[in-house]
Amino acid sequence: MNAQILFIILFASFAFFMVYSGILMYHWFKYAMSTSASLSASVVYMGMGFILLFIMGIMASSLL
């Protein structure tokens, strides 16, 4: 598979992930009763998300 296609998918995924993260975090910090729970959720969610995006980036780069 062409590396260029993987990079397009990667950037689209990254953009969607960031927008969706913004929506989720808006809810967590606006409505949650505990700031620490919102912070913990954000760290876990963003951490896992970025790890997966990083792996996707490495795999796409390996095809260059």
Partner: protein, 192 residues
């Protein structure tokens, strides 16, 4: 004393009002909702282990890992969306009101308030083995003037205790009302 940070759009404690209880659904409710997604989340890992043992080209392996990661990313977002709906679904009981905050899904949030003096009865329903075992169930609050419509919250931990708390506050409110009607001097049970 329960000390929580409240969103001012949801609740403003009035003068003489204090928190009695804050309820969130039992973790088992969240667990059952998210279990299928967690199984789907783990599937690519099994798939990767199986395919990596095969004699595949470097390109094929990279593509498999790429799309497995993408699959897991989508599921991660789905799991946290379910968690958000679980996390923001809350019942707040004060000495004057019951506030039912229901997060149906993103951008669909409903906040209902029941005044304590309208509460007539509180039922507890435990309908299956897991609810008995983990001690959670449905609280059904019957109110006056709602045309028979009950307010209910599902998956509340220790529902009998919460039922007792609500009925105690209802009793206090009704006793105050009776005293006012009979012309007796009113003294708050929380300040004496």
């Amino acid at each position: 004393m329960i000390d929580y940070k409240f969103n001012k759009e949801d609740i403003n404690l009035r003068g003489g009002e204090h928190l009695v209880s804050v309820m969130r659904k039992h973790w088992f409710v969240f667990f059952t909702r998210v279990l299928p997604l967690k199984i789907l989340f783990v599937l690519p890992l099994i798939f990767m282990v199986v395919t990596l043992n095969m004699q595949l080209s470097q390109t094929a392996i990279a593509v498999i890992i790429f799309f497995s990661s993408l699959w897991m990313l989508v599921l991660l977002m789905a799991i946290f969306t379910i968690w958000t709906n679980y996390f923001l679904d809350i019942w707040i009981v004060t000495n004057q009101r019951i506030i039912d905050i229901e997060q149906r899904h993103l951008f669909n949030r409903e906040v209902r308030t029941l005044r304590m003096e309208t509460v007539q009865d509180v039922h507890v329903d435990k309908v299956n083995f897991f609810q008995e075992f983990f001690n959670f169930g449905t609280l059904r609050v019957q109110t006056a003037g709602t045309g028979g419509t009950d307010a209910l919250i599902e998956g509340i931990p220790n529902p009998e205790h919460e039922q007792e708390l609500i009925m105690k506050e209802v009793h206090i409110i009704n006793t105050k009302g009776d005293r006012i009607h009979s012309g007796q001097k009113l003294t708050s049970p929380h300040t004496t």
